[in-house]
Structure formats: structure tokens, C-alpha cells
Symmetry: C2
């Protein structure tokens, strides 16, 4: 079983962000086993049906959440420095439970997924597009692992 | 004269980040005149010569700073929400002075450039790679302009 899981609905549509996602994932996997799960996304709904989109996507996201320590990305969550994230991950890695990072789609995460989180994490006071969030999160996970392993990583 | 200037040393090397940079720049330019200045970067120095790199790059960055309102990106700067950045930019755009965003290279910005800043801005408590910072900043400037103009922009 992978120690790290990253779960979000649907595939990243912007091709450059998708390429970066693969770039950071490959780097992470040199340091830690990591599975990316692109769960089913809600389709055929209008943007104004955000609640419906979140509910439908929650069902698919939840299928992939087992006995993991769940970290949901959330605008109003707790901010951490990269060093704090590194120490957090290091501590979690000592446990037998894996860590699952959950990132919402266009409409965000449903209340019921957020309620299951062990940690609500915010990447910034600023709002990033949900696809950019994915790349920033992966870069931060990679950075955290390099900090842990005492490796050099470009600023 | 452009109302917005964005200045950093050297060209973005990661091709996917460079593509995203162009993607967001094109979007910004549909809403506001904006010039990207890739100033001369320090070459031939070792990573450990960070101070020398910053000093040399400062000379080239400063050439492009005229009577602008200077915003330097800085880890320990002030954090803002996207809404706050939008209001800040809106206010600045009413002035005759343009706004210049300055982003450091690999080694960061020299003390003497930081001292000239009217605002030190931090994108996050987390440390992003300097090339990722560029993309996040551009996405935030675009987001700020769409908020100002009351346009819809994907979350």
C-alpha cells in the first residue's frame, strides 16, 4: 500500500498544469510511494449547481478513503510553512496509517468530505484555481520530503 | 506606458511553467496593459554565492524601476487574500504611477531591492520555488483584475 494518496475529482484539463503535476509526482515517487487517484467527476451539471456537483463527487471521493489520515485542502483551513508541513508529514509517516490529501474540483469539497478530515489545510490566504492548487500541493509535498531527507531543493 | 510591470531576472527555465506564464500573461493583457521584463540574471556563480548573485541581479532589476509603485515578493512579507489584492490593485490603478511587481531569482531579492519596495508581498506561508512563484503571481494578478471588473473566473 502507498504511504501517500492524493485524491481529486477528474483529470487536470490544462495541459501545462497536467505536465507539471506529472513532473512533481515523478519527483515525489523517487522519495516516497505515492498514488494519484483521479476520482469520477460530476458531469453534465451547470456551474450554478455547485452543491449538487460537490455531493456527487463526494460519493466517488469517499470510495477511496479508507483508514487514512485525511488532509482536505480548504481555503479557510490551517496555513503551514513548508517546514511545518515537512514535520507534519514526517510524524504521520511513522504511523501505520497512510496520509490521503483530498483536493476539490471546480466547485470545491462537500461539507461531508470536509467533516471527515483530520486536518484542513490551506495553501495560502489567496484563492488559487483548483487545478493550480493541485500543482502547488504536489510541489509542497515534494519540498516537504526533500526537507525531511535533508536534500537540497531549489528555492 | 504600461500600467503593470512584472520584473524578474532571467527567463523561466521549466518549459511548462513558462507556458503557464504566457497563458496567464495573455489573459492579463486582455484586461490591462502589462509588460514582462526578464532582466539580466547573474551567471557563472555557484549556488553558495547567493549574496553575490543577488547583488548583481539587483543592478539589472533596478534599471527597470522608475517612478513605479514597487511590490516585491518576499517570503516574510504581508499576506493578502485575492480580494485584498484586487482592492489594492484597483486603488493603485487610480494613481498615475504604474505598479511594478518584482520577483527574485533562485537566490531571492537583494536587501537593497527590498528596501525600495512600497509593499512586501507574500503569496503564502509556504515557500514556493521561484519559478512557481512567477506563475502563482500572474494567476493572482489575473484573478485580481477579473474581480475588479466583476467577471467570472473559475475557482
Amino acid at each position: 500500500m502507498e504511504r501517500l494518496k492524493i485524491i481529486w475529482p477528474g483529470k487536470t484539463k490544462n495541459k501545462d498544469l497536467r505536465a507539471l503535476q506529472e513532473f512533481y509526482l515523478a519527483k515525489i515517487r523517487r522519495l516516497e510511494s505515492c498514488r494519484l487517484i483521479e476520482a469520477k467527476e460530476a458531469k453534465g451539471l451547470k456551474d450554478r449547481d455547485a452543491e449538487k456537483i460537490k455531493d456527487r463527487e463526494a460519493v466517488h471521493l469517499e470510495k477511496h478513503l479508507q483508514d487514512d489520515y485525511i488532509v482536505c485542502l480548504f481555503d479557510k483551513g490551517r496555513e503551514m510553512s513548508s517546514g511545518e508541513l515537512a514535520r507534519f508529514l514526517e510524524k504521520r509517516m511513522c504511523s501505520s496509517r497512510g496520509v490521503a490529501f483530498v483536493v476539490g474540483g471546480f466547485a470545491g469539497l462537500s461539507e461531508r468530505v470536509l467533516k471527515q478530515a483530520n486536518l484542513l489545510l490551506s495553501l495560502s490566504q489567496m484563492t488559487f484555481s483548483h487545478e493550480l492548487c493541485r500543482v502547488v500541493l504536489l510541489e509542497q509535498i515534494y519540498r516537504a520530503l526533500t526537507i525531511q531527507k535533508g536534500r537540497q531543493y531549489a528555492k
